[in-house]
């Protein structure tokens, strides 16, 4: 397993930081912003303002370290737990919140943001990244597609079809598995008899690497060459980022039924954000004032995003019908009229 930045903020022996201080500060700011969003998401759900919410606490470095290896026009195809990566690649917090309030417009990020709405069904989306990468290549563009998924998703048949296509056609895809140790209640060891998830790449004929997923530098050090190689025609890579889901699966879950709270406590020591702060502080590149300023601005951004999402009028009855096809079918028109007549009566 590749490890560079240790929990105490020091670099592992013989390891070099893949980013300079300024780059590191930028990514650190993103980690802090992501956590502010995530904490807000959980709090809003408890107030009944969001539908179920899936926290990514503990997985920020895995997501942002990987997404930082993308270029602006590259594709990102991820899941309900990957808001940090999606946001980093341009998907506004507002849309992410809006989706969670239960509004389809959350799935409509601004033009130019090459991020699909989060996949809620486990496993189906990885092959979409394969198709995107393939489509880009057929259109002579050098865009890469990155897809994110959990350890559980590797058990779905579609994962294997996606890996196989990517290998057969040597497509510019980066598969980023966040092995957060659980798929709802199922521990990683019962998900697959493979010793690592990274080794699954062997079977499909391309490289797989395992990295400390709570280590921003390690994740980035794996993702950067993977995207570069993909872009230059070298084919796909599978990266297994070993991390831990600090929160329940979603706000509807009770982890007390399947894991020991001591285990979760122990992972607090491995927090992905604290170690970057320690690292920057040790280099005289960060201090409490900067931290306070960063936290205030992150909180403000998150507040503005939820306010904008909640200010939108919900979709009306007529709009329920109007985005099924480019043009409504006669049947849909009849149904829409029937609903409007009923509401007017």
């Amino acid at each position: 397993m590749l490890e560079i930045l240790q929990p105490d903020g020091s670099l592992a022996a013989d390891a070099a930081a893949p980013l300079d201080d300024e780059e590191t500060r930028l990514l650190f700011a993103a980690l802090v912003a992501a956590r502010a969003y995530d904490r807000k998401g959980t709090a809003l759900q408890k107030q009944g303002r969001l539908a179920t919410y899936a926290s990514f606490e503990g997985q920020e470095a895995a997501q942002i370290g990987a997404a930082a290896a993308l270029q602006p026009a590259d594709w990102l195809v991820a899941t309900y737990r990957d808001a940090a990566a999606m946001w980093f690649h341009g998907y506004p917090w507002m849309n992410l919140f809006l989706g969670r309030t239960g509004d389809e417009r959350g799935g409509s990020p601004p033009m130019g943001v090459n991020v699909l709405p989060p996949s809620i069904t486990v496993g189906a989306h990885m092959i979409h990244a394969v198709g995107l990468a393939w489509g880009e290549r057929l259109q002579s563009r050098d865009r890469v597609a990155m897809t994110m998924f959990g350890d559980g998703a590797t058990s779905e048949g579609d994962f294997h079809e996606a890996m196989n296509f990517a290998g057969v056609y040597q497509l510019p895809v980066v598969f980023l598995c966040q092995n957060n140790h659980y798929a709802i209640s199922l521990p990683r060891a019962e998900q697959t008899a493979s010793e690592t998830i990274a080794q699954k790449a062997d079977a499909y004929g391309f490289p797989g690497v395992q990295v400390d997923g709570n280590d921003l530098f390690a994740v980035h050090s794996a993702a950067q060459p993977a995207t570069a190689r993909a872009r230059s025609g070298g084919g796909p890579t599978l990266i297994e980022a070993v991390t831990y889901r600090m929160a329940p699966h979603t706000t509807a879950d009770d982890p007390g039924r399947y894991r020991d709270s001591n285990e979760t406590e122990a992972w607090k020591e491995r927090d992905p954000i604290a170690r970057v702060r320690r690292y920057l502080e040790s280099r005289g590149s960060w201090d409490d004032d900067r931290q306070a300023e960063l936290e205030t601005s992150a909180a403000d951004d998150v507040e503005a995003a939820i306010a904008a999402a909640e200010d939108l009028e919900p979709l009306g009855p007529a709009e329920v019908f109007s985005a099924m096809f480019a043009e409504m079918t006669p049947q849909l028109v009849r149904q829409q009229q029937a609903l409007m007549r009923y509401r007017d009566a």
Binding site: A51, T52, Y80, G99, T101, G102, D103, E104, I120, T121, V122, G123, A124, G152, A153, S155, E156, G157, D158, A183, I184, S185, L186, E190, Q191, T192, A252, D253, D254, R257, Y258, P314, L315, G316, P317, E319, V320, F321, M324, T329, Q331, L332, Q335, L339, Y342, A345
Partner: protein, 326 residues
């Protein structure tokens, strides 16, 4: 007899069959340690062991395909799919294999398995958690399709499903898991397939519903009674086999039928019933058969979901329309 909700009724029935039918095995995602996301299998792994209540990897095609093999080998697997919206990876297994094995082997191989699946909208859940696509199953030859509406039926129909010699799709209305309380016999008593239940007696209009829509149809019947119209409310309980006789007997008396279905309108189960009613009882009808259904749209997310799900009020409006002659 104790009053329990539907989730508890299912739980005690599963506990009962695991105790009395040693050939049963429960398998699915998170059914063991957590007892399922709706706690329907709560406590069963602790009591019956992890060989018989199995937490599987996240793989629906695997769960159903493996259950199929187990069934052929001589067991009675009870598979759980977490939500109907996550069933589709297993659809090929069901359509191409589970539903056909008896026919293609002329009874030589059979698949007595039950697939339990929570379905339906109305709780403002996330995308894919609100599906009501029972028509896909009813349209697939070789599957029995069960949709209970209350705790006692859930228990009794599940017991029958486990003992049935053929594959059964057992759809559990999410909205009803904890909405209704009812008495359930201990041990549960089987409720036969293919026998609809009359939930309310009336002679002016027939309301036909199943699953999560039954409480709403009954509420609509209350509203109609306030206007002086008595509705006959039929709960189908099983779509396959279908108790058409009970529906026809009622419609022949009332002359008016309103069919309620939460699923999408086109090719939904209500269309099948409306066609059957006109084939067999057209000359008894005093108004066109009415359908109250979900729309041909994706189920809207939480903020607009109420525009989709049939309500008691929409059902009553359709009944009043029929009472006026359509």
């Amino acid at each position: 007899m104790p009053e329990v909700n539907m989730a508890q009724a299912l739980n005690l029935t599963l506990d009962h069959v695991l105790s009395t039918h040693t050939d049963t095995v429960i398998l699915g995602e998170d059914v063991g340690r957590t007892g399922g996301v709706f706690r329907v299998t709560d406590g069963l792994q602790a009591k019956h062991g992890s060989e018989r209540v199995v937490d599987t990897p996240v793989a629906e095609s695997g769960i159903v395909g493996a259950a199929f093999g187990m069934a052929i080998s001589g067991l009675r697997p009870i598979a759980e799919i977490q939500f109907l919206g996550f069933f589709y990876p297993a659809y090929d297994q069901v359509v191409s294999h589970v539903s056909r094995i008896r026919h293609r082997s002329r009874h030589r191989f059979t698949a007595p398995l039950v697939i339990r699946i929570p379905y339906g909208a109305g709780i403002g859940a996330a995308e894919h958690h609100s599906e009501s696509t029972e028509a896909l199953f009813a349209h697939t030859p070789g599957l029995k399709v069960v949709v209970p509406s209350d705790p006692a039926d859930a228990a009794g129909l599940l017991l029958t499903a486990v003992e049935d010699p053929d594959p059964v799709i057992f759809l559990e209305p999410i909205r009803s898991y904890r909405r209704l309380q009812g008495e359930v016999a201990s041990p549960p008593e089987p409720v036969p397939f293919g026998q609809a239940a009359r939930r309310r007696q009336g002679s002016d209009v027939t309301l036909v519903a199943y699953g999560a829509m039954v409480p709403d149809a009954l509420e609509a019947a209350e509203a109609l009674a306030e206007d002086g119209h008595e509705a006959d409310v039929i709960d189908l309980r099983t779509l396959v086999p279908l108790d058409l006789d009970t529906v026809l007997e009622s419609v022949t008396r009332t002359g008016r039928a309103v069919i309620v279905q939460e699923g999408h309108r086109t090719c939904g189960f209500a269309a099948e019933l409306a066609a059957s009613i006109q084939e067999e009882a057209l000359y008894s009808l005093q108004a066109p058969v009415q359908r109250v259904t979900g729309w041909d749209t994706v189920v809207p997310l939480r903020r607009a979901e109420h525009h989709y799900v049939p309500s008691a009020d929409r059902i009553a409006a359709a009944a009043r329309h029929a009472l006026k002659g359509g």
